[in-house]
């Protein structure tokens, strides 16, 4: 079953006039307004340096907005206390281009790590990790170290780690950036399945084929501003067939 995002309900992610200027003076985002309903699947596209990664960093509260407000699940990230941050991060599954796996931990230990942090009991960790590894088709590789896996397999471990604690949001920054087209497509299938289970997915990507093929919501960022927000968009603006504009 594929959940259809309900654009009429209160958004689970909301950017309100968000500006981000780094201490170096670089203006990364300018007056960004964005609303994401629960269960949405959203691509962030745009040239390098456009502000996609800054938007992702703001969403996972690695950075705070210089101006404006960001709400996720009713929490204003900019005003969230530091001690609450770990609890917020536990609601979010994160996937990165460089996988961010721990090289000295096995596949099983890497995935279990996200649950150990929560202090979950061993028997629950075992069951959930097995399930997550099954979802990403890595059963049988539990005792392998990341260095002995292909790029696609490493990314699948990272995805298993992101979804093992059943997060409500998956935020992915260029998850297919280091993968060949066939592997990238496999990884995308995984994200679609996770989204179909109800998780909201926000993905920054440069992968034109995938964006064009999936025809999901596309937000194009250019020079720190939202240039385009199409409900069923392509990587580049389709001049022949005008898109339905959200904003």
């Amino acid at each position: 079953m594929v959940l259809t995002p309900d654009f009429a309900t209160r958004p689970v992610i909301s950017f309100q006039h968000v500006f981000k200027t780094y201490p170096t003076g670089t203006e990364a985002l300018r007056d960004v307004n964005l609303e994401v309903p629960e269960g949405d699947f959203l691509f962030l596209v745009g040239p390098s340096g456009a502000g996609k990664s800054t938007l992702v960093r703001l969403l996972i509260r690695e950075e705070k907005p210089s101006k404006g407000k960001i709400f996720v699940d009713g929490i204003e990230l900019g005003r969230m206390k530091r001690r609450r941050l770990p609890h917020y991060r536990r609601k979010v599954g994160l996937v990165f281009q460089d996988f961010k796996l721990l090289p000295n931990l096995t596949v099983y230990e890497n995935v279990a790590f996200a649950m150990r942090v929560l202090g979950d009991p061993d028997h629950e960790i075992q069951a959930r990790v097995a399930e997550a590894l099954d979802t990403v088709s890595l059963s049988g590789k539990e005792h392998t170290y990341p260095a002995n896996l292909s790029g696609g397999e490493q990314q699948r471990v990272a995805i298993a780690r992101a979804l093992v604690h059943a997060p409500r949001f998956i935020i992915a920054d260029e998850p297919t950036g280091n993968l060949d087209p066939a592997t990238a497509w496999e990884i995308m299938q995984l994200f679609l399945r996770i989204n179909a289970r109800g998780a909201t997915v926000v993905m920054a990507t440069h992968n034109r084929e995938i964006v064009d093929l999936l025809r999901r919501r596309v937000i194009a960022i250019d020079a720190g501003q939202i240039a385009r927000d199409d409900r069923s968009g392509r990587y580049h603006e389709d001049v022949a067939k005008p898109q339905v504009r959200v904003q």
Partner: protein, 296 residues
């Protein structure tokens, strides 16, 4: 909580062995510091033993009693002294006893044979609690009518004052050395552990991204620091214990006039101090070293 503690212990243990080279560097630097601190403590203890011996000797004062002083007067003054809170004991030594004591001292051998009659005074041997009070007792004795005016007491004010000064200086120097060692060691340990933490900054980043609390991240590092400190303390202690007795023996044979002695009882107190210092140093160094990377 218990699960988190178990996890922290497990990952501290694993990380200690996985990053053995860095762990050994930390162990080595803490060991060296603790050896220096241990030497300082041992030297301090040896000197305080020597000083205690001297102090015991010089905190006794003999008051010479004039030959014509009636015995009741002597007893009266003896009681007065015994009632003084600064005095721990007073002993009356008669003229005969003084002579016997003099003769029994092998140093006086030749002189004792030449003595005709008994030229020695009867005396009151007074033991004083604090070295600093000897002067006051001496003053009191000199005012007493029964004292021998030609040679009232054996008090050597200058020597006592020097002893007091020396003991104060040694105490201060030891304390200053310990403070310097403490500061240097915290800086060294902090930097060593910061290097260890730097190698594992990716791990910390991942921990934070999956929602680990600051203490969850910090816990294994602090435990690892304590482990490192304890291993270093054990090595330092072993080396000090092995070399303590031979060094004291060698010192005694080379510099015999200083009554230095081997004190096995001090080893348990040294062990407690070093293990505690090692654990604290490791924990503190890790806590500070990891701070920069842990803060979200």
């Amino acid at each position: 909580m218990l699960r988190n503690l178990k996890f922290a212990f497990n990952s501290a243990w694993q990380s200690f062995w996985r990053n053995l080279a860095v762990s050994l560097a930390a162990v080595l630097s803490i060991t060296l510091i603790l050896i220096l601190a241990g030497i300082n403590l041992l030297v301090g203890h040896a000197f305080s033993q020597v000083l205690d011996g001297f102090r015991d000797k010089v905190s006794e004062i003999s008051i010479n009693v004039s030959d014509d002083t009636p015995l009741p007067n002597v007893y009266d003054f003896q009681q007065q002294l015994a009632a003084d809170p600064r005095v721990t004991s007073v002993k009356f030594v008669t003229k005969d006893e003084a002579l016997t004591q003099f003769k029994s001292d092998p140093q006086n051998g030749v002189l004792a044979q030449q003595i005709d009659g008994n030229p020695l005074d009867a005396k009151l041997d007074v033991h004083v609690k604090n070295l600093g009070d000897v002067a006051a007792i001496d003053a009191k004795a000199r005012q007493w009518s029964g004292v021998d005016p030609t040679d009232p007491t054996n008090y050597q004010g200058d020597f006592v004052n020097r002893m007091l000064q020396l003991s104060q200086w040694l105490g201060l120097a030891g304390a200053a050395l310990l403070v310097i060692l403490l500061i240097v060691s915290v800086v060294i340990v902090m930097n060593t552990i910061r290097t260890a933490v730097y190698h594992r900054r990716k791990e910390i980043e991942v921990m934070k991204l999956v929602g680990a609390t600051e203490w969850f991240v910090r816990g294994p590092f602090v435990i690892e620091g304590i482990m490192t400190g304890l291993v270093a303390a054990a090595i330092a202690l072993a080396l000090l214990v092995i070399s303590y007795e031979p060094v004291v023996a060698r010192f005694k044979s080379d510099v015999g006039f200083i009554p230095l002695s081997y004190d096995p009882a001090f080893i348990s107190s040294l062990a407690t101090d070093l293990l505690l210092a090692g654990a604290l140093l490791g924990a503190l160094g890790s806590y500070i070293g990891v701070r920069r990377y842990v803060r979200i």
